[in-house]
Symmetry: C2
Subunit: 233 residues, 2 copies
Amino acid sequence: MMGFMSSADHDTPGQGPCPSGGAPLRVDAERNRERIIAAARTTFAAEGIDVPMSAVARAAGVGIATLFRRFPTREDLLDAVFADTMHTYADAAEKALADRDPWNGFTGYIRTVCSMQATNRGFADILTMTFPAATHLEELRARAYHDFLELIDRAKATGRLRPDFTDQDMVILLMANAGVIAATAHAAPESSPRLVAYMIQAFTAPQPETLPPPPDPDALAHAMLGLSCDRSP
Amino acid sequence: MMGFMSSADHDTPGQGPCPSGGAPLRVDAERNRERIIAAARTTFAAEGIDVPMSAVARAAGVGIATLFRRFPTREDLLDAVFADTMHTYADAAEKALADRDPWNGFTGYIRTVCSMQATNRGFADILTMTFPAATHLEELRARAYHDFLELIDRAKATGRLRPDFTDQDMVILLMANAGVIAATAHAAPESSPRLVAYMIQAFTAPQPETLPPPPDPDALAHAMLGLSCDRSP
DNA sequence: CCACAACCGGAAGGCTTTTTCCACTTGCGG
DNA sequence: CCGCAAGTGGAAAAAGCCTTCCGGTTGTGG
């Protein structure tokens, strides 16, 4: 079919005149294409990904036919519109891995992603469903997922993340957060951060590390015997 | 407990076999009304409250006109269909208040309600939106809410519920849970309980009560002074 | 048993959104 | 500057849902 040439130029903006393979678009067509993407970005962010295609076309100032010619299905449009947001999403996981403190990286990542959901309703939708046809999107999602697994391992190693935490728990949080965002829409914007704070708290292992480290058992035994350190055999 | 149908011969005056006021229905009409409610109950539970009215009519084995004649708006149907579920919901708060252990009552209530959401998608929808025209529903919701406030107070008094917990946090949980349920649909039914368990954990105050109660401060002062109990002035 | 009001089911009208089609316009290579 | 394929906008068809309307049916009181 198509899509194999999606390899194109994976760098975000400033793409060549060709959208994703095939013949280059005429300049006016390319201009319209950008307008559509820009309009869709705004509209999806504000209303979610279920807005009528006609609304996107109107916002872009083009005819419906133009939109459908360029993006035959909604998924095609989503793939183009959320390319850079998904890139940010994947980068967030990478940046989190670069954090010195794995726990800090882990919680920061969660907060970042959930906040991205809260400020972009369309993105919240994207993160809680799959679009097999949106190959670019799914590839970035896979990358973020892979990095997140590593993030989990490191966070667990610090002992701050509870050992029974699962990558699926992040999925649950994303779906829960999406539910809160969808229900509160524009009102009560503090709901989502509150949910996230609660969940991060729940993800935290019972804090053993707030206590100073226990004394050496041997030293303790000696102390109980009233022996001085240097007197031990 | 209460009657299954909205016969409601005890709480709403003057109902009898008639839907809500007006003249009594003819027996065949009443039979169809019950069929519609039964079909809607099943359909809403499985698919949510946004299913086409025609689907409900088909499931009930009646014409669309019959449905609309009896329930002119969707809210009218919701009011009738979820009357008993809402009653169970309100009763759950009351039962929770009757629990000897307020914390147990509190957590049990949360688990019950969230599990009701999970097993009934329509009810999950109902709990996260308002239907001004569905007076019966809203009245029951208000009752449950009132009892829940009392439940919060008592749970806080035990020290097990964190002091900064708010009734709004329950709303957030309901919306979050609805999001998880909507996204997991029929698959992954263990997601919702997992979310709930995490949240209850987060609602728990830093466990001070696992320690034995502190000694009387006065007694402690005396002890530090090396005074015996009976020697105090 | 009869008359009639209540009731019934499905067709039809109206609205929204998706998808296709077509006559007209325009960038661009020659 | 010209020809034409690529491109465009809007109309129209298709599909789904809500709501109303209407000719025919049926329970029920007299």
